[in-house]
Amino acid sequence: MKLTIAHETHYRFEEPARHSIQYLRLTPRPDHAQLVRSWTVSTPGKLRSWTDGFGNLAHVSVQDGLHEEVAVLVRGEVETMDTTGVLPPHDGLPPLMFLRETRYTRLDDGIREFVAPIAERASDEGQVATLHNLMWAIRDRVAYQSGSTHVHGTAGEALTHGYGVCQDHAHLFIAGCRVLGLPARYVSGYLFSEGEEAGEVGAGVASHAWAEAYVEDLGWVSFDASNGVCATDAYVRLAVAMDYEGACPVRGIRRGGGLEEMTVRVQVLNE
């Protein structure tokens, strides 16, 4: 697909802030499934690029002096290929690292119990089928509910509540993979949807998150538990990390400003 992406994030503060700084992970990663034709990230502040430890193409944006809003604008074109959700194993990141637990993906008894029947059948079904079973079990158990959770929810909480957003699904999938003994990681990115009529959960939510599991001799296989599918050419990968915190599109801090209001508009079009 040839996808055209426009992504605007506006932060408005209730009073002027004196200094604000953000880490932005808003540039697609170079990989085998996507080719970046053009890409720009702009903010009102000074913008410098850097690469984080996971190889994500990041920026740091700094705005000094009194300001009441920060607008982060992203525009670009990406050509995507359908690799049936599989990416090659060697991308510079050691898979074993992704067996680690984080605050978001911590195992608890609920998760262990939830994954146990899937794990029991794992040796019969093979890894890829088992991972599909995990994905579908999450989709069936944790209903997608837009805006239902805040971004600081954990995998365990999502399972207990029985509802969540794409972040929760991804975290729960990663935690489930650890029960299975498979490395898994968090991906943030964009999702192109035909529209609401297609009935997909992700429709209208073009800013998305999913997970990738490492399958020996195959590579990193993507699983989008919110939609119950592996990634296709409708997916654009921005950043990977252990969890939301490491991959989130914008992470910022400021001096002053009081409360903030954030609005996000994302449009992903197929030519």
């Binding site: 200094h19 700084i21 953000q22 880490y23 000074k46 410098r48 850097w50 690469t51 984080d52 430890g53 996971f54 190889g55 990041a58 740091v60 700094v62 000094d64 510079g92 990141l93 050691p94 074993l96 690292m97 067996l99 680690r100 990390a241 252990m242 915190e245 490491g246 992470r251 910022g252 801090i253």
Partner: protein, 463 residues
Amino acid sequence: MNGDGGEVRRAYQAYCEWLRSVPPERLSEKHQQADILFRRLGITFAVHGDDDGVERLIPFDVVPRILDPDEWRTVSHGVSQRVRAINAFLDDIYHEQEILKAGRIPSTLVLNNPAFRPEALGLDVPRRVYVHVAGVDVVRVGPDEFYVLEDNCRVPSGVSYMMENRETMMRLFPDLFSQHRVAPVNHYPEVLLRTLRAVAPPGVSDPTIVVLTPGHFNSAYFEHAFLAREMGVELVEGQDLFVDDNTVFMRTTEGPQRVHVIYRRIDDDFIDPLAFNAYSTLGVPGLLSVARNGRVTLANAVGTGIADDKAVYAYVPDMIAFYLGEKPILNNVPTYALRNPDDCAYVLDHLEELVVKEVAGAGGYGMLVGPFSTAEQRSAFRTKILASPESFIAQPTLKLSTCPTLINGELVSRHVDLRPYVLTGETTTAVPGGLTRVALRDGSLVVNSSQGGGTKDTWVLEG
């Protein structure tokens, strides 16, 4: 102090003669004077876990710990060798990971370890130095047999005591220093400054260096201030620095000034709230991006904790062989990793003989010293170990060397260790001396100041 046959070790011979010539009360007097000197200097130490929160003096003992030139040669070459290997290891595991591919260290032990920081993957640092300052804890268990207990590679502290102890001893016993040729330690800040200058970002010939402290509530704040003053550089807190335009700046009365090298005494977790602990107010938002772009040098670098992890420690001799092609000069204490079921079973059967340590523990907390433990303590540890074996390691109880120590006006023998400070810039060197810690309780092997240990001046005799 004494050798196996009870004879006085060579290094102590002159000191012993002097000791025989002075009346015992004189030492006690000096001890009191030392106390006053330290209080005046304000050298105190906040002890964790104390309810009263009062800062107290680390007890100082007026009897020096003395090393002869040969002993020091062994120790200094040995600790330098370890630090060279550790720097090579850090460069490797944050890049090509050859040592893991070669199977010399189990991959999971490194990659699946919270001390391995993905944030440092691919991080390039000047001169490939990650650990600029290390404090390697060494003990002597036989005539020339030294063991390393720990390689402290994160933000090792205590060096100010090395210097203040010397200062105090020179004031109290000027006569002793005229009788002994003791290697000086007071140039440590100079060597530290030279080290930090040597690792400035490429192309910077006259770097601005700062010491970054968590602030005056930190137990080592005195040391941070001391080192900044001695080096003639600014002591700053996180809020004094900011990031803009791919650069770290310090706020000054004359406006922002670029900073090139940060000797940071803040742990990784708190150093950049946008990359690590989001609630940290101690660090500098954006710092990681500038460091990764090579525009500021952090000393020590982010992610060095993996090298002094208690489980990774067991592999330092392998690192020395793998990277340097050398034989280890200093011994490693044999270490049982309790994540191995065989080791775990052995340790549970021999708790009375072994020292059990929490992998993530520090400062002598979370530690069981088998021979000095009660049945209750052992049973509590057994429960903890069974719940999470991978969180523990165990080591045989070493017979640490002893040194005469003045307790209640009497000279008695107490166990000691030694922490030499190893600096790496253009080269790797250990400043002759270090911090000798002494277990003040009779028979105790725990020398940590947080556990009632004291310190001594450490003399390296010049040959």
